[in-house]
Symmetry: C2
Subunit: 229 residues, 2 copies
């Protein structure tokens, strides 16, 4: 029987690449998608299409965590804060949601425990978005220790829970290169912070994505707005 893996799937480029990588490693895929009142709400629909592409629509858990909007304050949850378009800087970005990866990975661990999976995949990346504290390897290492102390699975079994972060030290170009090798369906993904039908092409997320495709000499298959400059 195949081993199960829970994949944190946002419908974006990175997490969809993780689907391809986990499938390539031979895992049975159990994607989990978190849905909240955010600008890129459309991602959920993309995540559904990605799950369908991989033939695991029936194992796709979509979790409404809209209460994060009550607790948090960030450009992704609060419509009164403008999405930054000034390029990636050194500081913690305005799009930071308090403890987001801690919360999402904790929920993914609960799902893993229920279905009997010992492996989680997350597309966190410490290169392009180095400003997010919860995308760094030291955070993932510490969380792995914590979840193995927190759960029945971690405490009672000799097989510890593992959090796989295959993209953590790759550039966007390298991520896309790996995904293209694995036939990851990038046409189904979305990255734009604005979350409209066509990508804006000017937000931080679009700029990084476009640069990554350019480095691979491949045209990004998703539609972009005509940009008048």
């Amino acid at each position: 029987m195949k081993e199960k893996a829970v994949i944190v799937l946002s419908g974006g480029l990175d997490s969809t690449t993780c689907m391809g990588i986990a499938r390539d490693k031979g895992f049975e895929l159990y994607p989990i998608t978190f849905f909240y009142n955010q600008r890129h709400q459309r991602e959920v629909e993309h995540a559904r299409q990605v799950a369908q592409h991989y033939g695991v629509a029936d194992r796709h858990k979509i979790v409404n965590v809209s209460f994060l909007g009550d607790i948090g304050a960030s450009a992704l949850t609060d419509r009164n804060i403008a999405v930054p378009t000034t390029g990636v800087g050194e500081d913690i970005p305005k799009t930071y949601v308090p403890a987001r990866n801690l919360i999402f990975l904790s929920l993914a661990v609960a799902y893993a425990e229920v279905i009997g999976a010992k492996t989680l995949y997350t597309g966190v990346n410490a290169v392009d978005y180095s400003g997010y504290p919860d995308c760094r390897p030291e955070f993932i290492r510490s969380l792995t220790e914590t979840v193995n102390l927190a759960t029945k699975a971690g405490v009672t079994s000799k097989d510890k829970i593992k959090i796989e972060t295959p993209l953590i030290s790759l550039t966007k170009g390298e991520i896309i290169q790996r995904g293209l090798e694995l036939n990851v369906p990038y046409e189904l993904t979305t990255s734009c912070y604005q979350g409209e039908e066509e990508a804006c092409g000017v937000c931080d997320s679009c700029l990084l994505r476009l640069k990554g495709f350019t480095e691979n000499n491949v045209v990004d298959p998703i539609p972009y707005k005509a940009i008048t400059t």
Copy 2:
């Protein structure tokens, strides 16, 4: 200005005692209560009354996490599993919710970060419910390290986030003793797993609570069903 503390408040005896302890330490209290489709749903109303008692109803965050019912499987969230009444045993109890304290404390950390609190209080206890892996000191120590790596507050400030567990090594009798000294309003709390108007007096939670009051030679101020034996 007083320092702020987030208190994980269930409306039960332990978390309400934490309210008294944190107030006694001079903190401004910010209770957070998690609400899900569970048998002891009434706890939320008790938590409200406790928050009101301490004059912090306007700072009380009540968070609907009913999606846990989708992810988890446990006697507390699944009505098809009977509540155990066989006494506290050695194994991980049937009332275990996968990664519950990890999830709740992660959300409490997000709230702390938004309001600018560096201290969290949780009433976890490793004595009476030793079967829950996420109530042990080693879990709390590891989580503290993780949250300080996960959050803007933990990374950018020299004041690290602290998770206070004043009850972790106390018996129920000792918890109640401390609470009585601090005039904790136990008449507003609820502990019964059955979650009805009057406590059942026979579930594990009721038995422990009654024993704790007996040890203090104090009558538990909440109403119990007449028990016919």
